[in-house]
């Protein structure tokens, strides 16, 4: 049995085959991984999540969660899901809604009140909020309630479709902390999001989906052996007579761009990064800051896989 989520050659069409939402998608999401799925609207992200959850039936291909079909009720018991569209039972109070899902998730009756109170606190909903009918909730409150609902069964697999959409910054930070905490405890998290900065911070790997295909799988937080771009800020322009391109190349990097007081340098690993910085300092460049460049996913989004090195 393969642990984690394995998607193989998944194809899904709508409207009698006229709209191809997924076109031979293959992915492997390892247990305990926080995996992001990004891509433009209509790329197939939500369809992919629907197939992983067993709510949609693929035309061909397979999805296996811990080696089992996503339709398997045993898989449902270890799964949490926050949909993008927050379609909750509006006539219930927030607390009753969580109690309902706690019971549906086959959690013990005796633990219900305590666990629901804990979840409400975790997502920042007060006792007063919990007593209100869901129909009186703001978008941000619904998002918090939805997140609590997704966590109700202490899932081993958590699917979040735009988890911070409509949340204020405090809510977004709270959601990020919850995902960080779950990841530390070994929960596998799949996140569909347009919030690229958030995906970059949270996810260990990110799939870029376009036109129903996985264009690339990126590692946003590059490790020691991974290539990345350094943004180097200088206190003054590069001294006359120094060719930064040549200095950087001699140290094992390559100059990707420059302004009067900044350089963008591609380095293959940490070792090269240290050499490049030392070479530039040795050449008289007054470096005041060198940081790995963020926004890589943003460029991936705008330029496609080829332009996001």
């Amino acid at each position: 049995m393969t642990a984690g989520i394995v998607v193989e050659s998944l194809t899904k069409t709508y409207r009698g085959g006229k709209v191809r939402a997924l076109d031979g998608v293959s992915l492997e999401i390892r247990p305990g991984e926080v995996f992001g799925v990004i891509g433009p609207n209509g790329a197939g992200k939500t369809t992919l999540m629907g197939c992983m959850l067993g709510l949609l039936r693929p035309d061909s291909g397979t999805v296996a969660v811990d080696g089992r079909s996503p339709d398997d009720l045993g898989v449902h018991a270890i799964t949490g899901y926050l949909p993008e569209r927050l379609m909750f039972d509006r006539w219930m109070s927030g607390r009753d809604f969580l109690r309902y899902h706690h019971a549906l998730a086959l959690q013990p009756d005796a633990a219900r009140d305590g666990e629901v109170a804990g979840l409400l606190e975790q997502v920042g909903l007060t006792a007063e909020d919990a007593a209100k009918k869901v129909k009186a909730y703001s978008r941000g409150m619904l998002q918090r309630l939805g997140l609590a609902q997704a966590l109700v069964a202490r899932p081993r697999y958590l699917y979040l479709d735009e988890p911070t959409s409509g949340m204020d910054p405090v809510g977004a930070i709270m959601a990020r902390r919850i995902v960080d905490d779950l990841a530390r405890r070994g929960t596998t998290v799949v996140i569909n999001s347009h919030q690229l900065e958030q995906v970059e911070r949270l996810c260990t790997r990110v799939a870029f989906v376009k036109d129903g295909r996985v264009e690339s799988v990126e590692v946003p937080a590059a490790g020691a052996s991974a290539a990345r771009v350094l943004l180097i800020r200088t206190a003054a322009p590069v001294p006359a007579g120094v060719d930064p391109g040549r200095v950087v190349a001699a140290a094992g990097g390559s100059l990707a761009g420059s302004t009067e007081t900044s350089l963008r340098v591609e380095v293959p690993d940490d070792e090269a990064a240290a050499k490049v910085l030392a070479a530039l300092v040795g050449a008289g460049v007054r470096i005041i800051e060198a940081v790995p460049e963020t926004g890589r996913l943003e460029r991936l989004f705008l330029e496609g896989p080829g332009g996001a090195a």
Partner: protein, 238 residues
């Protein structure tokens, strides 16, 4: 059977004021008539008043959850689609059986008060028939609710019943036996009932009644499960 869904469905059915209003009207009208019409008249406790009550209480029992999308989260839990359908049916059937049983007892009490007491055996028969009617018609409501989104099944059911009635009348008028039988089948499918007369009042018992009733209920629930199993539940692609 999932008792969490049964309990929540009962609470949800009772949460809307409009449904309460309809329920009070459809519960009260037969009582009013029992008190006002000449003693012995039974027109408003007829099967079709009962059917209307069951249809109104059950309108949208599955279809509204499909339209609003709340079913998505329920079925992402360890709940099978057949379990979901059966739980909805049991919730609806128990609620309406209770209401119809109380109504039958109240009508008997009014008849007794007006000097026409109903025998205990006859009352038990009426209550049991009402309960079977509730379970039968609830299965049909659940089927239509699974097939039709929102609470539109009410109009579909009305038209189906009307169509069956007109077909039966046309058959009688033209003396087309097959058409008359077809119309009768449609109308009796819409409100499966079990005549307990042979059990209580003597007479020849035949299996055709119970078999017909059970097959209608089974067919309705099977269609609901089959349809829901085929259904894709996601807002993707919409």
């Amino acid at each position: 059977m999932n008792w969490t869904i049964v309990r929540t469905t009962l609470r949800e059915r009772m949460a809307g004021r409009g449904r309460w209003f309809s329920l009070v009207i459809l519960f009260g009208m037969p009582l009013l008539w029992a008190g006002l019409l000449p003693a012995g008249t039974d027109s408003f406790s007829s099967m079709w008043m009962n059917a209307l009550l069951i249809w109104l209480v059950g309108a949208g029992v599955i279809g509204e959850e499909v339209s609003s999308g709340t079913i998505l989260l329920v079925l992402s839990r360890p709940v099978s689609r057949s379990e979901y359908v059966f739980s909805k049916w049991i919730a609806l059937a128990c609620a309406t059986a209770g209401v119809l049983a109380v109504q039958a007892v109240a009508i008997a009490a009014i008849a007794g008060w007006r000097g026409h007491p109903v025998e205990a055996v006859a009352l038990v028969r009426q209550v049991l028939e009402a309960v079977f009617r509730a379970f039968g018609a609830s299965a049909v409501v659940v089927m239509f609710s699974a097939l039709v989104p929102g609470a539109k099944e009410m109009s579909v059911m009305m038209f189906t019943w009307l169509g069956g009635t007109l077909l039966g009348l046309l058959g009688q008028w033209k003396q087309w036996t097959a058409v008359t039988l077809g119309g009768g089948e449609v109308t009796s499918f819409m409100l499966p009932a079990l005549d307990l007369g042979p059990l209580f009042g003597g007479g020849g018992f035949t299996w055709s009644g119970p078999v017909g009733y059970l097959s209608t209920v089974t067919l309705a629930l099977a269609v609901a499960v089959w349809w829901l199993n085929r259904k894709e539940l996601s807002y993707a692609g919409s």
